[in-house]
Amino acid sequence: MTPLLKVEALSKSYGAHLGCADVNFTLWPGEVMGIVGESGSGKSTLLNCLAGHMQPDTGRVIFDTRDHGPRDTVTMPTPERRWLARTDWAFVHQNPRDGLRMNVSAGGNVGERLMAVGARHYGDIRAQAEDWLGRVEIDARRMDDRPRAFSGGMQQRLQIARNLVTGPRLVFMDEPTGGLDVSVQARLLDLLRGLVQRLGLSAVIVTHDLAVVRLLADRLMVMKDGRVVEQGLTDQVLDDPQHAYTQLLVSSVL
């Protein structure tokens, strides 16, 4: 089996300030990896470098593309990287406003990725959008409403539908449950877990919420000051933390 994502010696600095340094890991198909760490630990920088939103200073991010096998997404031409971003990759932002078009209807939001890869049949696009709205538990009657009229939880679910409609193989999530009420978080987690399992998705989830990774992630990476201090099986890292920082993090949970 070929790894879906292989990250080698990835580093990114902002001038003198370190973003993340010397990150290495391999993600296999169907695996969900969590990245935890406090604010400023470099986890979002890392995620943005992985998803092609940011150019790392050094290192390789090798993704197993559908058509051409493993390719370094750092050095690949921008059009190819953008193509990946709207086909094989998905990116769920913490704030749905960053990931949705707020002045486009829910149906249009879901349909955009389909149209971006060439779908030109209105009826088919609409049927697929409706199907996906159903899967994220949004009433089909809200299809022509704009996301402005939706609650935060609905917006986040819409963002997920919009991302998953093209059948991506790798989903990047940046604090997907941040900013939501606890009850809404649980529903979203349940939904994400079901989708990940049913679709066999691989995912990289950045969060500072250990409960989120406990429920969603198979594996866990702990970052501090731009470096990975510990990684392993999620329950092993959480139940038997080895590094001083991880022990502190785990023992700090209320």
Binding site: T78, P79, V104, G107, G108, G111, M115, H121, I125, R126
Partner: protein, 282 residues
């Protein structure tokens, strides 16, 4: 008028414009930036079209200028007189007699021929402008053919109105590559852009952009498979003057009691038909 260089602009400026035009012709549908000059007319009155026309004109040219299809409206008359004075070129109202036609918001009904140049006045050259306000981003989208958003706009129209509700400035795809704003021509005229024998040039003065559709270029109006593009005009109406059923019609209000008539927007086409009918009758 010896105070002015031929066709008003100095030769260096015309050379700059011609370079931009050549580049535009080489990359059909691509918006080429150019250094737009102050012209003796306000923005929005065709400064882009006038500069392109000035760069194209040679003394042997015959110029026709139309505004919304008409040769006799203020804008058309002013621009025609302007070039008659500063370039001393012949002018005409007959589409078939013109070598250069500057137009605002119409394509003539008479089929254009090889060797003719049609110059469009363009207010907003960027078809993605109202979908994505950042020019840096729209340029990237063009570069990467990232056109899903344009289709989303059409999707939204159908979802809201049951059809693609754009009657003019209907977006097109040029030679299967760039998405282009055809200027605010009615979508009735869109099919005339396709595979035209004439060279079609587009000038946006305020926005400093020139783009082009070379002769015999494929120009497709965007649509959905199940909601195909249709070129529409006033349904079921004929021209009240020449009885044409195949031309684009203007609605003219004739009194305060709701009276109205539909007439050809292309005045030359209408007049030519009326003359031919008179000849037949005689």
């Amino acid at each position: 008028m010896t105070q002015y260089n031929f066709a008003y602009l100095d030769e260096a400026t015309k050379r700059m414009l011609r370079r931009a035009i050549l580049k535009a012709v080489a990359i059909p549908g691509y918006q080429v930036p150019f250094s737009s000059r102050e012209m003796p007319m306000p923005y929005g009155w065709g400064t882009g079209g006038v500069q392109v026309t000035a760069a194209c004109l040679v003394p042997e040219d015959t110029l026709k200028v139309i505004d919304q299809g008409a040769d006799d409206t203020t804008n058309a008359v002013s621009i025609r007189k302007f070039f008659a004075r500063v370039a001393q070129v012949a002018t005409t109202e007959a589409t078939s007699a013109a070598s250069v036609i500057q137009t605002r918001h119409r394509i003539p009904e008479t089929l254009l021929q090889e060797g003719q140049i049609l110059v469009f006045q363009v207010p907003i050259p960027e078809p993605l402008r109202f979908l994505e306000p950042r020019e840096t981003e729209t340029r990237t989208m063009h570069a990467l053919e990232d056109y899903g958003l344009m289709q989303v706009r059409l999707y939204e129209d159908i979802a809201r109105h049951g059809e693609i509700a754009r009657a003019y400035a209907y977006p097109v795809r040029v030679e299967g590559r760039y998405i282009m704003d055809p200027s605010p021509i009615p979508k009735f005229d869109n099919p005339k852009l396709d595979n035209s024998a004439a060279l079609q040039l587009f000038g946006a003065g305020r926005e400093c952009r020139i783009y082009a559709v070379p002769p015999y270029t494929r120009v497709e109006s965007l649509d959905f498979d199940d909601y195909p593009f249709t070129a529409t005009k006033a349904a079921g109406q004929c021209c009240a003057i020449c009885a044409a059923a195949d031309s684009y019609l203007d609605e003219v209000i004739t009194d305060d009691a709701g009276g109205r008539m539909f007439v050809c927007s292309d005045t030359d086409y209408c007049a030519t038909r009326v003359a031919a009918q008179a000849e037949d009758a005689a």
